[in-house]
Subunit: 455 residues, 2 copies
Amino acid sequence: MAEGYFHYKRDALATFDLFVRELPANRAYLVACGLEDILAYIRELRFTRDDINYLKKQRLFSTDFLKYLTHFRFRGDIWAMPEGTVFFTNEPMIRVTASILEAQIIESFLLNTINLQTMIAAKASRVVCAGRGKGLYDFSLRRTHGSEAGIKVARAAYIAGFNGTSCVLAGKLYGIPVVGTMAHAFVMSFKHELDSFLAYSETFPVRTTLLVDTYDIKKGIKNAITAGLYLKEKGRRLQGVRLDSGDIVSLSRLARRMLDKAGLDYVKIFASGNLDEFKIRDLLQRGARVDNFGVGTHMGTSIDAPSLDIIYKISEVTDEDGRFLPTMKLSKGKVTYPGRKQVFRVQDKYGRFVKDILGLEKDKINPALSARAGGSLLGKGGVKGRPLLIKVVDKGKVIYQLPSLDKIRLFTRSNLARFTAALKEVYSRYKYPVIVSPRLKKLRRSLASQLEKRQ
Amino acid sequence: MAEGYFHYKRDALATFDLFVRELPANRAYLVACGLEDILAYIRELRFTRDDINYLKKQRLFSTDFLKYLTHFRFRGDIWAMPEGTVFFTNEPMIRVTASILEAQIIESFLLNTINLQTMIAAKASRVVCAGRGKGLYDFSLRRTHGSEAGIKVARAAYIAGFNGTSCVLAGKLYGIPVVGTMAHAFVMSFKHELDSFLAYSETFPVRTTLLVDTYDIKKGIKNAITAGLYLKEKGRRLQGVRLDSGDIVSLSRLARRMLDKAGLDYVKIFASGNLDEFKIRDLLQRGARVDNFGVGTHMGTSIDAPSLDIIYKISEVTDEDGRFLPTMKLSKGKVTYPGRKQVFRVQDKYGRFVKDILGLEKDKINPALSARAGGSLLGKGGVKGRPLLIKVVDKGKVIYQLPSLDKIRLFTRSNLARFTAALKEVYSRYKYPVIVSPRLKKLRRSLASQLEKRQ
């Protein structure tokens, strides 16, 4: 396709929107994630000599086009929602304006990156909401789709509010706190469970969490208590016990009682084993006495929705005279919004977010527009809509200063806190209002009939 | 955990099995995939100075242990099923015998790699079975979990029988045929659909597939016919038209009629849009006239089962005297098979696979064993069970000669062809017989009661 553009649309500029068409079941919001990698990609994108040679061997591309690729750089503009921004369907979370060829070449990487990281941040955020302040740890590396995904999942989960990860490489790369407990194999490599517990406690006197379900859980807890008392005698504290199977509600209550009775009330209870937001909500509602959850496969693969309905669609393109003309798709059930758009978030006088307006960039949220939309866009307090897309790449140069990971994490939390609780329910059917601006509505209507006639 | 082993089990050797506990719904088999990456990992595994410094900063590890890591190499043995081998639950597809510390350090990478690639090879294989010989192309890059996953998915799908991929980097890395068609944006960047079709046809006179559903599909097909006749006049052939929305059965029949009537009976029909094995089976049963399918998200994320219940469990460990003692887990619903195991595949006199025997390595499938198992292990023709696990790493050295990708692909096809058709149904409830050898059964029974007593 790029070669086609090269011959026929070399000077054409275009705008593309990256957005999600529909939310997965039970989801009421998404969390923007992946911008850091997009910006690194934009900085580094090149075709190497090796790449060109491979393409040449396909006997499909012209010499001129291959020569063009050797000098290829992305030189356009990119607008994006900062990582951690809560967003909704049809809202462009990335907007690219560039030579149509450049805008198209970056499509796959943008979609691939945002799909994974935003999907995981959204899933992990749901787990955080269900966890009601309990400790949450990413244990998904074994089942993420490759090691790259393992690292990105750890980062997205941390942004969403997780407390740490078992992925040591993610810890090294991003400074995320790393955690680990023992596995069954460690216990099984000793003749007696208690021996394995004592050996582990000796090795990590300040960070020991003992896995108690390899053989018989009740005996396992007893052995953990023995190890805990042994550490206590030496003036140290057993950190926790971990339950990885069975009925977590009754087992956690049993473990709590046994630990408390033994004077080990400071020992935390850690639960793991195919957990997700649904199960965690249920466990806590049923009175489980769990302090920390290890959440793996379900979060790390977004198991109930392992992809987003995320797309990258052209919304305007220049004509022969270099003027931008809006465009849109008319395919059945896949109609898009034309023109260069912006998302405006409206808050009430308490700072709570009450609605978004999907408009054209030239829309300004002002009393006049508000009046045209029936006066409903602005609250009584005279609040204003804040544009969510900010410029991050200018003529190919990254101009956005990336916040630290902990700042992104804090921003995610404060951002989410300003939405109604109904949004954050595990089984949410809440639909946050996203209103299409009158000007965009009108453009879409008139363009649709114009295109139907033209074709 | 490794530090615990370092202090308490430095000389212990252990065997670990990597296997799948349960199959996802509708699945009756899995396809081994990922060994190539495992072997590369074993060759290259090192802790860099940078890694050690990071670990040091955690203030968790002893100087001795960190020093040990600087010299760390995997020095054990690995047995594995060759890529493309069809296998079933509880069958070890990788078996590691090594220092317990080394065997444990490689766990995460092994699970992560085999989970992704085997899951995708199995899913893609189902699509291939449903496709009944039609062309199948991997279009999943936009929705795979990261770019690494995109590349691995392309490879796994090709092994399973796909014909090509849209992931150009996978084409470059693995020599997989790459394919591409135009996207809606290309059409929309021109004022008239026909202009975009002619431009594309000029650019790729021998490999043009035109996307006909951007505006009105019927008009789109007409425009494609115009472009096809234009190419025909110049002595060239339009390759295909692509349908990406709407009712593929009626639209493909309409397209076929219109193309044939215009003398373009050689033009292929390409269908895409959220396809999977269920939809492809349905489309073909309902009489769709499709020659090639582009299969994306559903295959590339294994959307109905985005993870396998894959685990890595210790099965034997040496005692103080260096003797291997079998071990097993007794956790509720998670009991494992002890001992050093092998999988034997039994075929009938026609070469059809009829059952597998999960046994101990020292089990030999011979008439004596057959007799002990009630004579049912061997067919009347006196056929023999072939061991599926072969040695691929010897004392840390990779001794397995990797077959070419095309050889693996052929092996997968011929391997699958020897199983009954019931296994390959899209909605399969067939359970291929995997029999536990008498000796293994006995070991498991006696060990379970022994462990219960001991703890």
